[in-house]
Symmetry: C2
Subunit: 323 residues, 2 copies
Amino acid sequence: MIKPNELAEIELGVVGLGLMGSSIVVALLIAGHPVRGVAPIPSDMKDAELRITKQLKHAEESGILNQPISQYLSRLMLSEDFGILRDCRLVQECVVERTEIKGLMYRKIAEATRGKAIVSSNTSAIPISVLQDLVPNPERFLGVHWAEPAYLTRFLEITKGAKTAEEPAKWVFELAHYWDKEPTFLQKDIRGFVTNRLMYAVYREAFHLIDRKEATVEDVDKSFRYDAGSWITAMGLMKRMDLLGLADFRVALSRLFPELSNSTEVPELMKQMVEKEARGIQNARGLYAYTEQEAEEWEKAFAAFNKEIYRLAAEHPSAPTEK
Amino acid sequence: MIKPNELAEIELGVVGLGLMGSSIVVALLIAGHPVRGVAPIPSDMKDAELRITKQLKHAEESGILNQPISQYLSRLMLSEDFGILRDCRLVQECVVERTEIKGLMYRKIAEATRGKAIVSSNTSAIPISVLQDLVPNPERFLGVHWAEPAYLTRFLEITKGAKTAEEPAKWVFELAHYWDKEPTFLQKDIRGFVTNRLMYAVYREAFHLIDRKEATVEDVDKSFRYDAGSWITAMGLMKRMDLLGLADFRVALSRLFPELSNSTEVPELMKQMVEKEARGIQNARGLYAYTEQEAEEWEKAFAAFNKEIYRLAAEHPSAPTEK
């Protein structure tokens, strides 16, 4: 059993300090850990401190800090040097979804920690069992998949690979409860885990409708915001069926399943985006058109939303019998 | 152009007074219309008034009423007799998803209104063009698909069938803005429209994972509540990609699409539910186990959630450039 007063002694590392990585750093700092953040590419290093400070401010405005921001920052060390990971008990990898790059990170992490740290990947697309073959201690490797912003969602997906031992996975699962998460714990390494399989099933169908000009990008967003968006946070998918009485679903799904896209191809619209080097609000070019100012305003609006939905999710926890 | 002061003179009908139908009645009463509700089966009639009053109370608690409940009820007439639909400009059908039953309703509606009313179906599974062949005036028939609770979501999906004329569809689209909706307007009758295609794509994958014991019902709900649930109301699906920078999605989707279920079959778990005559919280038997008391508590919790998410959606409207 991990005790709350031990958190300050459990040093954790994060490798990769993009939007997601920074956000994980913030979540771990808030939980009380000393955190070592490694920026494997110089551009990450340049913006990391600014981004982390900004995210801590967002957390403060959202009412989830109980110390001044400077206190949290005093427990943080950032570097391009993997050497700072030396005493970390767990190192969370959060770099681009490319196997060879991740493999390189794992070698550097293993060297810095002398193979002692548990290593977790935030991957959402590469099987844990594949990445596991790239580390010297596969039994101490697992998937820990976060949602953005990491410090302001209750989501966490813990996945064992084929070779992950039970003990380190359970330790991380236990620890994660101190991070204010409601983690899922998958014993089996299925590709995309649960969340991304569900989300990509939606994306497949959405792109299919858009590519066929049967719906617009705006239609898709409006539909999902105002239908699913009006109940999903309260209950999830399956319990929704219970609320609606279940029975009608059998007929509806036997009618609809055969109509759905089974595509395995990258959608046309996504190909166009790649050709245009669109990076969404990062370069104000994406599925929607943005001016730079609009992109900024929109980020702000979402930060405010985060705060409220986080509170709302806490006020309406699981229905009585949910485990 | 419809003027706001005309709403009190535009009489509307609803056929089918289950959970959804009652909820639509309430939405239309709140908008200011006189409403005629027809219960085609006696059990609907028995509970309809009670249900509608309860929903009006919920609307009142949610702060969206500006008159006493009795005022709204004074504009409502309920009957098993289709004759009360006589002067309705639009009749919304909201009965079970069975073509032959819907066809019977349309004949009764046409007879009662002497073919003058626009008729809309709330179907989410039967093509509008199929239903259209069952009505005497197909050019005045369309899909108007609501989300539950109809009076407390901004969602509405308007769909033209192959034979629907532009003028009545546009009239309904315009009118719907007075119902506090942000309707989508599909020119093309695609099966399941947008929302249900997206949702059933998720359901297909969810049942697939559960049937294969790769995830539990609880895992699926936890994932969707805490991941998608933390952002969907703010932005929908596609804009989310823009926020995350778009580029990583190409790789992720080319990896995940081939892994997704392409099943056209009714899932095992759903078959079991049908065999058990499970009707979710309606008979306290469903994908989750409930006592009757728990089912009731849960309905209350969701009513409270509705109120807040409705407000939250309004406070965080579309990003700047959304149309």
